[in-house]
């Protein structure tokens, strides 16, 4: 499958995880990894699955590198119907009211433009005991399998 891992990062943790996911998937798929700040919203392709790794910063805000993308998405309002994505969010349950809001916001922004979300939005907790990659790699396998079905149906 053609997979693009997109990341929104503030401290670099989401970037590292995105790179880990990309290198793990490399052997079986065609994978690219790209910072959201370098990805224009009109570059989505319907034969790709987009895995979006996004942290949460401050008071439930999008991380710095996702903000220009989110703004561009709102101003250019592209039609993303036929685009498939899945979201892996990073957050810290110490801030429970806004826990994982970065990933949530990304999912909402893309869905609002007609894109189809695949699988459950994963939520890593920096205050928990799990390492992000330990959750992210099984999650990626799962959403890829789901996406393969969905994308075949719509193709």
């Amino acid at each position: 499958m053609k997979i693009t891992v997109l990341y929104g990062t503030e401290t670099g943790n989401a970037e590292m995880l995105a790179e880990d996911i990309a290198s793990e998937l490399q052997s079986e798929h065609t994978v690219e990894c790209c910072n959201l700040c370098d990805f224009p919203p009109d570059a989505f392709k319907s034969d790709h699955l987009y895995l979006i790794v996004c942290s949460t910063y401050g008071d439930g805000e999008l991380p710095a590198s996702a903000q220009p993308f989110a703004e561009a998405l709102e101003t250019t309002a592209p039609d993303l119907s036929g685009i498939h994505f899945a979201v892996f969010g990073l957050g810290d349950s110490e801030y429970e009211e806004t826990f994982n809001f970065g990933g949530k916001r990304m999912a909402e922004l893309l869905a609002a433009r007609g894109a189809t979300q695949v699988g459950e939005r994963a939520k890593h907790d920096a205050s928990g005991s799990d390492m992000p990659e330990d959750i992210a790699l099984p999650w990626a396998e799962e959403v890829i399998a789901l996406a393969a079905e969905k994308m075949q149906e719509t193709a």
């Binding site: 401290t11 590292m16 008071d59 110490e94 429970e96 205050s127």
Partner: protein, 417 residues
Amino acid sequence: MKRAVAIVGSGPSGCYLAQALLKAAPELAVDMFDALPVPYGLVRYGVAADHQGTKAVTRQFARLFERQGARFAGNVTVGRDVTLEALRAAYDAVVIAAGLSGDRRLGIEGEALDGVIGAGRLTRALYEHPDADPLPPPLGPRVIIMGNGNVAIDILRLLAKTPEELAGSDLGPAPSKWLAESGIAEIDIVGRSPAAQARFDAVMVKELAKLGGVTIRVEGAGESDDADARKKIEALESIDGHGSGPRCITFRFGLVPVALEGRGGRVEQARFRNARGETVTLPCSAFITAIGFQAEGSLPRDALIGAAADPEGGSLAPGLYAAGWFRRGPRGTIPENRADAQELATRILADIQEASPRPAQEREALFRRLAGHVCYEGWKRIDAAETSELPQDRCRIKIPTRSAMLALAHQTRESGQ
């Protein structure tokens, strides 16, 4: 020929710089020197013990040493164990990312009284920095925290928490006991400026709403048209009236400290001037200054920055750079310093192509001469000792002394346990 960069300081700015350098130029040799036997600087000794999520960045930094070829040389004080000049002669570029660890002083009468404590001094003792002063005597029933930055809020939160609320942290047994027995009844947190100009992040204030043992009041948060300021004011309003616990926290703003007064050499009250020019006096048994940091240690920051060709761009002299708080002063969060480090890395990589590379032999000889340095494997032994056999409510128990750290770091397989 391979180029080499020395980074003085392995805190977040130094590590982010190494990361950006190695991402753009994986073949580069990067050696990181730290005055402590352990890496990560502020992340280990400045980020609050109960903010473990923030400390997760060390997983990125560990990769520098484990996968990207950077070398760690801990327990090396540049300016004492090796001169800055010797480093500059051996490396194509030297970057000072040593941070700012000294407490800025208020410069008012009474600051030398017992019970007046700098935030850095206090947090170093709480977080068991090996060079910390001992924990001070109990702070007494009424504590004033002077300052409105995130450090002031960290101290407020730690002093206000119940022992149970410190579960999951890496606060050591001695500091935990010290906090549990503090006997603090009231904490005033005082800002010189109105709340609109406070430097803390709104999320730090909102976090206080989770405290179970406190009653929070906010006096005179004021108003603002500025969106950023409004966020802070709204955060303050949201915690005003929170809780009914025994510890009373009061936020006060617009009070300029004038003098600290006491009898028998111990602080008993603080005198302030408010915006109307009136004197306001608050009693206190301890007064904590959290008004920023300044350079302290073996590197002459003022002279280096003063003579810099381009201090804003991080260039001090040919082949010599400054990063992080050492360059920019005590402002900016960890991610802001990450962005800075990425810019500086671009500049350094461009600059080092212009000069002829320094020979590796001299560099390796210098590195070996720094006998007694702690390598990354030495740190891993310290790390393993700190994270094995933990009590249930702690994620790490730091080794508090340099000698114990060094003993572990230099322990070899042959010498056994």
